[in-house]
């Protein structure tokens, strides 16, 4: 790879084997594996390279700094849903809770059955990809001590009710329970891809350019030829590469492809958006909880997973809780005065609703309406959430509904929702008329342009998607290298990799 040449008009050109757009869960993993496999790789990331020394454990400040739009990306529809997305090296892995689930087997079977993805969704073939990611990110189960008292309350409730539950697996090393996974881990204990795979890519010779706003993917005669981007200093860069991996995320990948005149043949680009809409409930306990002390998302209750309802821990410092509490006025002030005795837990729905993304004046317009089936899941989930807290000994339960509205009578517009797992806007389907990419994650009808982010995931997962995306990116990278994915390394080697 050359270091870049200036061309007339101030355009810097770089030659590479692969250009990766985006350094999040998909892009960073693909870049590291390809660079280590001997390819010349350039990574263009729109966001900055964050300095962990500036992580302040203050939610308001960090939301503005680490998230796109200051974490205020919102869907249009009923109800509007807040959709926070990370920005910078690491993408959303920088600000997620670190929860790691493999793709559930029944989801893989569905991908094979409904989308013709026999090879992509082959559980046996994906197994070494997952194992490789899990070793690289030091994924292991949270201990009860680190999980904190907020998790202990949910556990007590689940045990009293006989509901299936467990401690979550996370990508963390040396975690001390700072309680601010979503606001930048000041200890760099969370092993997000910005401090694991990105350094690996750079160590293997990849050139990583932060602050590069990719404008177009370039093609010639039906093949990838490169990428054009604008830089923060006003300059421009053109990467000439026969392979381009688009990993700008579920919301921005379809916009980039559409702008480049790619991926539109099936009519599916920007459609099929699934979100895993979620909400949180609170309980006032007699005991001291101090919910922010410990791992915020450390425990799950999957008793109702088959119905598309999953409970996962969520917690935060007082300012975060002040925003999330479904109360106002004096009731809000009274609950905040009791912050140290408040417990919180989250409810996530594996959605049947589908939305869309399109560009308007360069910005995404996200449309998503909750269908009746998902509303029913929220009604049932909130009833069960109240049961869980009551069984744990809650004195009061605050559900995310208007005062006096019972869960079974809730309307879509009554719900206070957020979503963290956008998927599906460039979905994989073996049939060109039904999907944007094929089973090798290559755009239908265009050689050399691949997609490796949540947008290719063709259905809701029902679980957090980060290592599904990473495993698919691993599979793609080894496919491009023409090699089989090697067996996972030992724990010791894995730690060296992630250092």
């Amino acid at each position: 790879m050359n270091g870049g040449r200036r061309r007339a008009g101030g355009v810097r050109t770089i030659d590479a084997d692969v250009c990766v757009i985006g350094a999040g869960a998909g892009g960073a993993v693909a870049a590291a594996e390809l660079a280590e496999g001997g390819m010349r790789v350039v990574v263009l990331e729109q966001g900055p390279r964050h300095d962990a020394d500036r992580f302040s454990a203050r939610p308001l400040e960090m939301l503005a700094r680490l998230y796109r739009d200051g974490s205020q990306t919102t869907t249009l529809g009923s109800p509007p849903i807040l959709l926070p997305l990370g920005r910078g090296l690491g993408g959303t892995t920088l600000v997620n809770s670190g929860t790691c689930f493999r793709t559930p087997p029944q989801v893989l079977e569905r991908w094979q059955r409904e989308f013709g993805l026999e090879a992509l969704a082959d559980a046996q073939a994906l197994d070494p990809c997952f194992a490789r990611v899990e070793h690289a990110l030091s994924i292991h189960e949270v201990t009860p001590e680190l999980a904190g008292r907020n998790a202990a309350i949910a556990r007590r409730g689940a045990e009293a009710l006989g509901w299936s539950h467990g401690f979550l697996k996370r990508n963390a090393r040396g975690c001390v329970g700072s309680g601010v996974c979503a606001f930048g881990c000041p200890a760099s204990a969370k092993q997000h891809v910005g401090i694991t795979y990105v350094p690996r890519a750079e160590a293997a010779g990849a050139q990583v350019i932060a602050g590069a706003d990719v404008r177009h993917v370039l093609t010639a005669r039906g093949r990838a030829s490169g990428v054009e981007a604008r830089l923060l200093d006003g300059g421009r860069v053109e990467v000439r590469a026969p392979r381009v991996i688009v990993a700008a995320g579920t919301i921005h990948t379809p916009l980039l492809l559409a702008r480049s005149g790619l991926g539109r043949a099936s009519g599916q680009l920007g459609r099929n958006l699934a979100l895993h809409p979620a909400t949180g409930a609170f309980a006032l306990m007699d005991e001291l909880v101090d919910m922010a002390k410990g791992v915020p998302q450390s425990f799950y209750v999957d008793e109702f997973a088959a119905e598309g309802i999953m409970f996962e821990g969520v917690a935060g410092p007082p300012s975060y809780v002040a925003m999330a509490l479904p109360l106002s006025g004096r009731r809000h002030a009274a609950a905040m005065a009791d912050y140290r005795r408040l417990a919180m837990f989250g409810l996530m729905v594996s959605d049947s609703s589908r939305g869309s993304v399109r560009g308007l004046a360069g910005r995404p317009v996200i449309r998503y309406d909750l269908v009746e089936q998902d509303l029913a899941r929220f009604r049932r989930g909130l009833q069960r959430m109240e049961e869980l807290f009551r069984a744990a000994g809650a004195r009061e339960v605050y559900l995310p509904l208007p005062h006096g509205v019972a869960p079974e009578r809730a309307r879509a517009r009554d719900l206070k929702l957020m979503a963290f797992h956008p998927l599906g806007t460039a979905r994989a389907d073996a049939r060109p008329a039904h999907g944007v990419v094929d089973g090798d994650l290559q755009l239908h009808g265009v050689e050399g342009v691949y997609v490796a982010d949540g947008s290719v995931v063709p259905s809701s997962l029902g679980v957090n998607p980060q290592i599904t995306i990473m495993a698919l990116a691993t599979r793609l990278a080894f496919g491009l290298l023409g090699r089989t994915v090697p067996p996972a390394t030992t724990d010791e080697e894995a730690h060296v990799l992630s250092d």
Binding site: L60, P79, A189, D290, K293
Partner: protein
């Protein structure tokens, strides 16, 4: 000359400034109304708007150590502990 904003208001301003348009203007309007008794009464008529405005203002208030530390949350201490651990263990 305008008085410099207090730290709570500054934190909120940074957060609101990061929002895309037209949300940014809407949030500024909401906060302006929420800070006035008559405005607050007006917002209280619509549940979702009431929650948003009340929550935003409260978020700013509890970011302030004056309100957060008595509730057991010392952000500076958490960040300092994390930094020390990171440097001691040579993490990025």
């Amino acid at each position: 000359m305008r008085k410099p904003a207090d730290p709570v208001r500054r934190g909120l301003d940074v957060f609101v400034d990061a929002a895309p348009q037209p949300q940014r203007s809407s949030l500024r309007l909401l906060l302006a109304l929420e800070r006035r008794p008559r405005g607050r009464r007006l917002l209280a008529r619509v549940h979702a708007i009431d929650l948003l405005a009340n929550g935003l203002l409260a978020m700013g208030r509890y970011e302030d150590p004056v309100h957060a530390v008595p509730l057991g949350w010392d952000a500076d201490a958490i960040a300092a502990r994390g930094r020390a651990l990171r440097h001691a263990e040579g993490r990025p």
